[in-house]
Subunit: 315 residues, 2 copies
């Protein structure tokens, strides 16, 4: 079925409220879900909203939580999400984060105590849409391992970066530190499909191409030791600097009644006058050389949501 | 031959001055070279100093340049390195960067117009040694390509991250966005050795294991599309945000008479009380799970410098 962004927002908002979310929580989440869908990121759009609905109902998200926002230093915003969603704390802090980055040259948002962050590109894309450069990192319950350790010790720990361009959508990427995102393995398992070598280990710590075995094992970091270092940086910033649960200690985001209580760390840099124009010109040169430039697409104005997802939303 | 850190500093300082560096430039560079050697990073220690000596003599570094340091916003330090070395601008700004990060929660150092940055871990290790978390990125003349583009379009664009620990040296890594650092290919070419598949393309844009062919071609990004995105983030921050030459436009750092005039961007975060203790405890758990934790080693107190390098220093 096809929806306008406003209709899709209403669909998401009502579903969240039925699952127990307070109106402002539902609204904040719906905004993020629709933004992901409009950016073409379906696996972290409505498909992922289903995880949130179960989590509200089963107690992994406190749908009535009010984030506590504090300003310990002029360019630092700290948020305790109080076991709620990650998006509401960011919404409450957004205008201050913008203003402080512009006033000080850089500012940082550090949140702990939330459910997993959803589409990470949502946070950086919003800042780049307002003319800032942004990097965001978040951690998550341990699902990933590195070459030497054969059990899950880190989250898939995504990193997103965005920068404003003169024309159209910003330059933006949002990628897991694992060779693939967890949702891709889950999707393959649901469809009964194999996964490529290098994506995952099975429950015994051995390499596997069986997606169902992989769900009992661990994802592998991308790019060997260098990718594992990126995952570690994400962990130290998203869980260490924010004071959130380490990935190793975070309760599951798909079962049980406890919040993962993980972290989100964002850095926003003010850009000098003319930045977007200069970057636009250079990005076009790189694209002419054949380089793939992530992001830059506009927002979709019509969203196609599969019937089975709508069914689950309306349950 | 073996040297104490002080003796090694004198050796490097005198060599730089003989090549045309002013005393403060020579001192700043010697400090970075000895720090790299003490951290066990020999390829970016005295071996790399030789590149600097040629660059002073041939005009790629202005050995008499005085960096211009400005403070456009409270948490932002901008430096125009004036075609000199990268290290002097950082030295001049270091105490202010520390103070501003502590006062504002985060601060950023943005430098353009310098020679390549040398060991990037030097910058983050120093900040972590004083209790801050730090990320540093720098760009460099184009030597690297991505899967789709078969010619050099980006520098090897390293990223370094460091965080303070309660005991001993900080957690720190410093890695190129290429599958291997340029110096490793050059070293293999000098030794007449082959390089592994996946490191480089030859001058025609085809994969090669011949290190000499690779020097005429391009290095490959690590970890496929994800690694290429990291390289792009480094480029946008190190060259875009700072206003430095894009890697594609940067003159060579090993030949010709022009400065590469590239950029260095550092973010320094203040850490909450108890951060180092909490990270120390967790890092030990990860290490027990078999994860490789980068850095953490102490500084060497005796430096072994090969005779052929000493000969070149004293030339």
């Amino acid at each position: 079925m096809r929806f306008s962004p406003d209709e899709a927002h209403e669909l998401a908002r009502r579903a969240a409220m039925r699952a127990g979310a307070r109106e402002d929580v539902a609204d904040s989440l719906a905004k993020a879900v629709v933004s992901a869908e409009r950016a073409g990121k379906k696996t972290v759009g409505f498909a992922h909203l289903i995880d949130y609905l179960h989590a509200f109902a089963e107690g992994r998200i406190d749908g009535k939580a009010t984030p506590v926002v504090t300003y310990p230093a002029p360019a630092l915003i700290r948020v305790d999400a109080q076991q709620g969603i990650a998006q509401l704390g960011f919404d409450l802090a957004f205008e201050e984060l913008m203003a402080r980055a512009k006033a000080h040259g850089v500012a940082t948002f550090q949140q702990h105590g939330s459910y997993t962050a959803g589409e990470l590109g949502y946070y950086t894309r919003r800042l780049a849409g307002r003319g800032l450069l942004a990097m965001a990192v978040s951690n998550a319950p341990a699902l990933m391992t590195t070459a030497e350790s054969r059990k899950p010790i880190l989250g898939t720990n995504p990193l997103s970066f965005a920068a404003p361009l003169e024309n159209g959508g910003p330059l933006v990427f949002d990628q897991a530190s694992s060779a693939t995102a967890f949702v891709n393995v889950r999707h393959a398992a649901q469809a009964g499909e194999a996964i490529p070598e290098g994506w995952a280990l099975d429950g015994a710590g051995e390499p596997t191409t069986d997606s169902r075995e992989a769900l009992n094992g661990a994802l592998l970091a991308f790019g060997g030791a260098r990718g594992a270092n990126i995952a570690l940086m994400v962990e130290v910033l998203a869980a260490g600097l924010t004071g959130a649960n380490w990935s190793l200690d975070a309760p599951s985001f798909v079962q049980g009644g406890q919040s993962p209580s993980v972290g989100l760390c964002v850095v926003a840099w003010d850009a000098a006058a003319g930045f977007g124009t200069r970057l636009q010109t250079h990005i076009e040169r790189l694209a002419q050389c054949g380089m793939h430039i992530p992001g830059r697409r506009g927002s979709l104005d019509e969203l196609d949501i599969p019937d089975d997802i709508i069914e689950q939303l309306e349950r």
